[in-house]
Structure formats: C-alpha cells, structure tokens
C-alpha cells in the first residue's frame, strides 16, 4: 500500500510538473503547479512528516498559488501567450539547463550523507511518539535553533521592505 502510494504520488507530481511547464495558458499552468504541490505534500505525509505536509498545502497550495493566480489574472495573462524562448538558441539554453539538472540529480543520488548529519534509525518515530506531530519540529526550531530561525525571519522582512520600496515610488 505504502509503495503504491509513493509511486502514485511521485508519478502524479512528475506528470503535473511536466504539464505545468508545457501548457501555454498561465492559469492552466498554475493549476497544474497546485496539483504538483499537493502530490509533494502527500509524499511528505508518506515519509511521516505530517506537519510539513499540512504546511505545504496551507502555504504553497493555499496561499502562494492563490496569489500567483491573482497576479496572473490581474495582469490578464490568462489567454495563450507565445513562449519566452523562441528560436534555436532558446532551445539550446533549455537543453543545456535541463542536462545540468539531470547531471545534478544523478550526483545527488550518489552522495552518502556523513555520519554526523544522519539520524539513527527510528529517531523520528521516537520523537513523534514523545512530542507529537508539531512538537518534534517546534522544539527544535524554537529552542535549539532559535537564532538562525529569527535571522531567517529578518531576511524575509528585508525582502518585504525591498518589495514595497521598489513598488511604491513615494512612501
């Protein structure tokens, strides 16, 4: 059952990702991207990371993609558009980047993580048993790694301020 679920959702993720980049209409592409997000959330849940799965749906599928759709619709990009990379050099660039990504993927499967970063088998189950689905993440995030977490939030704040400054001429 678990194996079937894994293949089903990974297949769905890959197919919908392909459809996302091949559809001409931006709205349809965005909807396929939502399906991809969903399949990835399902994969997280299969891996036992239920919290991350729920957050994936809540943040990516529920908020970010809605904003994407909002912007696409607001700019009225809804109808069919020509591709951004016309001509033979466009194909060359896409082919080059694609090859690079495949090589990278192949390299990633070869790497064996160092012993220090690998958790001993069964750690996740034990932590989930003790602290619940959310506690396992929150105690790490808000106790052990509080300072890096806060620095990340400052980074996001800087991005927000930057976006406002760029968008508004007079503040």
């Amino acid at each position: 059952m678990l194996v079937f679920n894994f293949w089903f959702f990974s297949g769905l993720a890959i197919i919908s990702a392909l459809l996302c980049i091949t559809r001409r209409s931006p709205v349809v592409s965005a909807m396929w991207l939502v399906v991809t997000m969903f399949s990835i959330a399902a994969l997280y849940i299969i891996l036992g990371a239920q919290f991350i799965g729920a957050i994936q749906v809540l943040v990516y599928a529920g908020a970010i993609m809605v904003l994407f759709l909002f912007v696409i619709m607001l700019l009225n990009l809804g109808r069919d558009e020509p591709t951004d990379l016309p001509g033979w050099w466009g194909h060359a660039i896409t082919f080059g980047i694609g090859t690079l990504l495949i090589v990278e993927l192949w390299a990633v499967t070869r790497i064996v993580p160092a012993g220090e970063v690998r958790l001993p088998a069964g750690t996740m189950d034990r932590v989930m048993e003790q602290e619940g689905v959310v506690g396992a993440i929150s105690s790490t995030l808000f106790r052990d790694f509080l300072v890096p977490f806060e620095i990340t939030s400052v980074l996001l704040l800087a991005a927000v301020v930057g976006a406002v400054v760029l968008a508004k001429r007079r503040i």
């Binding site: 909807m31 239920q50 729920a54 749906v57 529920g62 908020a63 809605v66 904003l67 809804g78 689905v133």
Partner: protein
C-alpha cells in the same frame, strides 16, 4: 488484511457515507431555513407550499435544477468551467471529516461475508470520520483551498462580472485566512493539542473556550464570515454591482453546486465554532456525557452538537439579513489593519498569561479558565467600548447616542 483492519475500514466507509448524506440533507434543510428566516426578517411568509411548512421546497428546487438547461458560455475555458463547481463543494465536505460530532459509541461486531471474509470490531468508535493527528492544521489547510473554485469559476467564465468576482474572492480569502489562522492558534495555545477530540476533551476538563478565549472567538466568527463569503463580506457575489459575481454564467445543476458548496461551508464553519469554542458535543454542568461510552450518551451528545451547530447557522443567517455589505476598501482595511494586529497582540497577551499561569503551576481547571476570562475582559472592553466607540456593539443607535 486482518479482520480488525477490515472492520475498521468498513466502519470508516459507513461513517463517510452517513456523514456525506447528513451534510447534503443538512444543506437542503439550511437552504429552507435561510429562505423562511429571511422571509420572517422581512415580514413575509417565505416558501410554505411544498410539504409541511414548505419543508420539501429544497427537493422541488433540486429537481428543477436537474431539468434546467446547462449553458457553457462561448469562449469559456470548458474544462476549468466544469471543474470549478466541484472545487467549491469539496473543501466543505472534506472539513466535515475531522469534526467529532458525538461521544464515542461502543460498537462490536464479528461476522463473515462470502468473498470478503471476516470483519471484526470491538471498541468505542470515535464519532468522527477521520481522527487525524493533524486535526486543526488539516482544517486550515483544506479551508484555504476553497478559494480555487471561486477564482477559477470567475476566470473560466470569460465574463467581466465573473472575473471581478473571482479577483475579489482571491484577495479577500487570502487576507482573512490570516486572521482565521491566528484566532485558531489561540485555541492551540490553551489546548496544547491539535486534534479536535483533544480540544473537546480539554474544554470538558476546563471551561468552554468561548469564555477563556472570548476575543479569539470574536475574531474567528468575523473571519469565518469572510471565509465563507457570507454577508456582510459577500463582495465576490455582490448582486447589486456584479450580478452575482463569479457564478453569473452558471446555470442549472452547476449553479446548484455553488449553492451546495456555500451552505456546506456554512454548516462546517458553524460546526467548527461549536467544536472549538462551545465544547463540541459536551453537555454543560454534568459529567454524565464523559463517562462510560454507551449508545444513549452518543445519541444525546449528537443532539446537543446539532443544536449548537444549528444555533450558529441561525446566527449566520440572522447576520446576513441584518447587516449591509461592506465597501471593498473597508473590507481590506478591516482585515489587514484591524483584525490582523488585534489577533497578533492577543496571541502575545495570551501566551504571556499562559506562561505566567504555568509558572505558578496552576492546573487546567475551572479557575485557570476564569483567570484567562478575566484577562480577556479588559481587552474586550478597550476594543469594543473605547476604540470602536460603540459602532459595532451598539449599531446605529449607539452611534447616535455617542454623537449627542
């Protein structure tokens, strides 16, 4: 598969079917309630011809909707146009799966069927379709998806009015989702548990959360109104300016699906309010319902839960027929400049209060709840009687009194 697993799956199937049927029946009933109640608000009778008190009116409407012609506008994106009504209906239905609607019922069976084999179950069956460890997070995640149906309906119709409705819906729902999530976090903070069964149990041990989390409840009600696109927040529909907004182009059963979706969301949100802030299926002032699980206890608590849910449905409809619609900039200002800061400040206050209470080793009992209620009171007073200067609480009369 083991016989126990098969018994569990069988029960899950039965519960899903019963839950689905109950929700659809509830939707039909609520449409009737809405029309009758609206009529009484406007001093008329409402539909009272079909069946006793007009109770069969929704069935007649359903048949009418099946027979009507299905129209798809020219230049509409056909697939998305057909998909949108289903996407509106699904989230309301999915949310219903995690709400516990009665005390656990003891179920015990052991039988065999040809081909399928033996089915065994012998335990107190939780009266909810799925007891997810994620519970409330699942609720937040799924309710955030409700907007897709509306946005796609607006875009795929290829019509100005629908399109504006869809745009409004996406901005509104993303804005109010934040306030909704933050008000639910106040429940997390006190309950310390994500599952809805856990929240109900915590309220039985303490107090209904409407008292210790009064402001959280107010925030939840307001943002739930906005999330379900009900008046005074039904800007995406706004029949006076947008000709029913996102479902202008829909006809027959597809239009009815939007209707079903809206009322399913209404019922689920009411059930959530009852569960999160009014003790779920808990019967107040007695611990009889928390004792040994039995069929009678389950049925009584189910009745109590339905009573609570439908009183919220009543309040929803009451609000709809009493208040005028917001202007769009007012809606956005309320969401981002009023609800969001209040919710954030309230969370900090609440977290501090809980930290102090834990510091003094006070257990989660009645006293704990009353102390939190005492923390809420001054905040409520400052917000509604001083900062709001009587507009929300007293309405027009209060405003006049203030200016005199």
């Amino acid at each position: 598969m083991t016989p126990e697993l098969k018994g569990f799956l069988l029960l899950g199937l039965v519960k899903s079917l019963v839950g689905f049927g109950a929700l659809v029946l509830g939707v039909a009933f609520v449409t009737w309630v809405e029309r009758r109640q609206a009529a009484f608000h406007q001093d008329r009778l409402g539909p009272n011809r079909v069946g006793p008190f007009g109770l069969f009116q929704p069935i007649a409407d359903g048949i009418k909707n099946f027979i009507k012609e299905e129209l798809v506008p020219a230049d509409a994106n056909r697939i998305l146009f057909l998909l949108a009504p289903a996407l509106v209906f699904t989230p309301g239905l999915l949310l219903f799966a995690v709400i516990p609607f009665a005390a656990p019922m003891p179920v015990s069976f052991d039988f065999s069927l040809p081909l399928l084999g033996r089915f065994v179950y012998d335990d107190a069956m939780p009266m909810m379709i799925a007891n997810l460890p994620l519970g409330l997070l699942f609720v937040l995640a799924i309710s955030s998806l409700g907007v897709y149906g509306i946005v796609l309906a607006g875009w795929a119709s290829n019509s100005k009015y629908s399109f504006l409705g869809g745009l409004r819906a996406s901005a509104q729902m993303v804005s109010y989702e934040v306030a909704l999530g933050l008000s639910v976090i106040s429940v997390f903070l006190v309950a310390g548990n994500l599952t809805l069964t856990g929240v109900v149990a915590a309220q039985q041990a303490m107090l209904w959360y409407v008292l210790p989390l009064t402001l959280g409840f107010v925030l939840f009600v307001i943002s739930a109104l906005a999330e379900t696109n009900r008046l005074p927040f039904d800007l995406p529909e706004a029949e006076s300016e947008l000709v029913y907004g996102y479902h202008t182009e829909y006809s027959a059963m597809k239009f009815a699906m939007f209707f079903l979706g809206e009322y399913a969301a209404l019922i689920t949100m009411s059930a959530l309010m009852a569960t999160l802030f009014f003790g779920g299926w808990d019967i107040p002032f007695t611990s009889w319902d928390e004792g040994e699980p039995s069929v009678i206890v389950s049925l009584t608590t189910l009745l109590v839960f339905l009573l609570k849910t439908f009183s919220f449905v009543f309040v929803y409809i009451w609000i709809r027929w009493s208040l005028p619609r917001f202007r769009y900039d007012q809606l956005m200002a309320l969401g981002w400049k009023v609800l969001l800061p209040i919710a954030l400040g309230y969370l900090m206050l609440l977290a501090t209060a809980i930290w102090i209470l834990e510091h003094f080793n006070i257990e989660q009992n009645l006293v704990y709840g009353l102390i939190l209620f005492a923390v809420n009171l001054p905040v409520i007073y400052v917000l509604f009687w001083i900062l709001d200067s009587g507009r929300l609480v007293f309405g027009y009369g209060g405003q006049r009194r203030m200016t005199n």
